[in-house]
């Protein structure tokens, strides 16, 4: 038999990861349905318009799509990997000839698939129940695609890097979830960003989620809304530059710090 490549093993691992994910009902429900529940609550409570032709639901769906990248990448991996470390999954893999990159390819496949399901569910629910308008130009769809690819990649490597922070698998959720929730509040997912206190906006601007939500708004909100952003425009170039910078930071951080075993 010929030697299997890192990519082919990685694809096999991806299939396995997806299979395991689908069999964990609680986590499927939590990851996939919780954002829909939030959308239902916020969409019903804030049924007002925040600008001409822009409902709060429209604004909120953009924020939730950005959050979806963080939930399925950063949050999912930063909780899952410490558990795998505790269970001995990682040490066992380390003892086989499986290339390390195959493990990360598998995780990337899992993140991509769950992120796509998440985005489709949010868009479908938004359109059906809350009258959210989908982008009409090809340019906006391409922008969304680019944002999803770069944003998910960034979120994935940061999740792998952050997986070394929780001391144990059991405590991982308690360490990771507050980070995500606080960032969501600061980054204008739950509230209109420009209405947040100035210092909060400045803190948020350091982290990628703020830029992901702003990028998502540039896709889903009319261009007339751009004047109401902090900078008075969408800052598309800066958005991609900052998310890209975090991708590079996450890449180096994860490669340097990844541990296959608990100390």
């Amino acid at each position: 038999m010929s030697k299997p490549t890192a990519l082919s093993i990685g694809i096999q691992r991806g299939r396995l990861e997806v299979k395991q994910f689908m069999r964990q009902r609680e986590s499927v429900v939590f990851t996939m349905l919780f954002p829909l529940i939030l959308l239902a609550i916020f969409g019903s409570v804030f049924s007002n318009s925040i600008a001409k032709g822009v409902t709060f639901s429209q604004y909120f769906v953009a924020g939730m799509i950005a959050s979806g990248m963080v939930n399925t990448g950063f949050q999912q991996l930063a909780i899952m990997i410490p558990m795998e470390r505790d269970f001995g999954t990682l040490k066992r893999l380390r003892g086989t000839p499986m290339p390390a990159s195959s493990y990360f390819i598998g995780k990337a496949i899992l993140v991509t698939l769950s992120m796509l399901i998440q985005v489709i569910l949010l868009l479908a629910a938004g359109v059906i129940f809350f009258g959210v308008n989908l982008p009409t130009s090809a340019h906006k769809w391409l922008l969304l695609l680019a944002l999803l690819i770069l944003g998910s990649a960034c979120s994935t490597v940061l999740g792998i890097a952050f997986s070394n922070v929780p001391k144990s698998g059991r405590g991982a959720s308690a360490v990771v979830s507050p980070v995500v929730i606080v960032l969501q509040f600061f980054s204008g997912v739950f509230f209109v960003f420009t209405q947040l206190p100035h210092w909060m906006q400045q803190v948020a601007a350091i982290f990628p989620l703020k830029w992901m939500t702003q990028g998502a708004r540039s896709v889903f909100l009319p261009d007339s809304f751009a004047t109401r952003e902090v900078a008075g425009n969408w800052e598309t170039g800066r958005t991609f530059a900052i998310i890209g910078a975090w991708l590079v930071i996450g890449l180096f951080w994860s490669i340097r710090s990844f541990k296959w075993e608990r100390d």
Binding site: S2, Q12, K19, Q20
Partner: protein, 284 residues
């Protein structure tokens, strides 16, 4: 013919604790070699260095003619030839036995057939059961299946039968012998001395980071030539005597009693007696 494992002057410290302190070891091809020692003796550290999980401070280590601390591609090729069965794990609970085993087969260049391996460890009826539904013993056999799927030349077994019932242990032992008979070399660490006695071709006793003795189970610690203990009942009293010539003592007693000796018992030191004496002796 080179040794499968050869270790000379191995040292590893954690802070001021010298976990492995000048250890020498040679393991031949095709043998079952048991490493015995109390907790904290340096057993786990030694094995993890041999498995390439831990770096050493100094000393020579060759495993299948490879330095396990080397990184990179060569390490992957080396891992293709070894199988590691770690202490109990609980991963892959949401995959079936067959899914796990056949997936691990994709990591190796020349794997065994997944169905055959599942049959070999006696899990055929559980092929389609999820990992989390397996009992402790079945779970352990799955660990072994994942360790041997790559058709390894050298197998590391760490406390393989912890939590087994006696019948499962016997079945497991015959599985290990079968792997040895197929040509694999096996390095076993265990707390069970009867397991070492039943399985191992040779045993090494490790304490305080050093090998105290390497021998066959029946020769360890001068066991074969140690004094035998003869005990019998003399009236109300239970008497006991240690003797280098127990046969002579017994025939003398037989004459004395004019035939049957009441409650006669002749006993050699068990591996456990010898072992406890050895590790106790070092402590003093």
């Amino acid at each position: 013919m080179s040794k499968v494992i050869s270790v000379a002057g191995l040292r590893k410290s954690y802070g001021s604790n010298r976990a492995v302190d000048g250890l020498d070891l040679e393991i031949e091809q095709g043998e079952i070699f048991a490493l015995l020692g109390p907790n904290g003796a340096g057993k786990t550290t030694t094995v993890e260095i041999l498995e390439g999980f831990r770096d050493r401070d100094s000393g020579e280590v060759r495993v299948l003619d490879f330095d396990p601390s080397a990184k990179g591609n060569a390490g992957q090729q080396w891992r293709d030839r070894i199988g590691i069965v770690l202490q109990s794990t609980q991963d892959a609970g949401d995959l079936t036995v067959y899914e796990s085993v056949s997936h691990f087969a994709t990591y190796y260049e020349n794997p065994k057939d997944a169905r055959e391996v599942i049959e070999l460890v006696g899990l055929t009826e559980k092929s389609d059961a999820l990992g989390r539904t397996l009992s402790g013993g079945q779970r352990r056999r799955l660990d072994v299946a994942l360790g041997i799927i790559g058709n390894p030349e050298l197998i590391f077994l760490d406390e393989p039968t912890t939590g087994f019932d006696p019948e499962a242990r016997r079945a497991f032992w015959s599985l290990i012998r079968k792997l040895r008979d197929e040509g694999a070399t096996i390095l076993l660490t265990t707390h069970y001395l009867d397991e070492a006695e039943a399985l191992a071709d040779r045993v090494a006793v490790i304490n305080r980071g050093k090998i105290i003795e390497v021998s066959t189970p029946d020769q360890l610690g001068g066991r074969a030539t140690s004094l035998a203990t003869v005990s019998w009942r003399d009236g109300v009293e239970l008497r006991e005597e240690k003797s280098a010539n127990p046969t002579a003592l017994v025939s003398q007693l037989a004459q004395q009693f004019g035939g049957e000796i009441p409650e006669l018992n002749v006993r050699r030191a068990s591996l456990e007696d010898i072992y406890l004496e050895m590790i106790g002796g070092v402590d003093e």
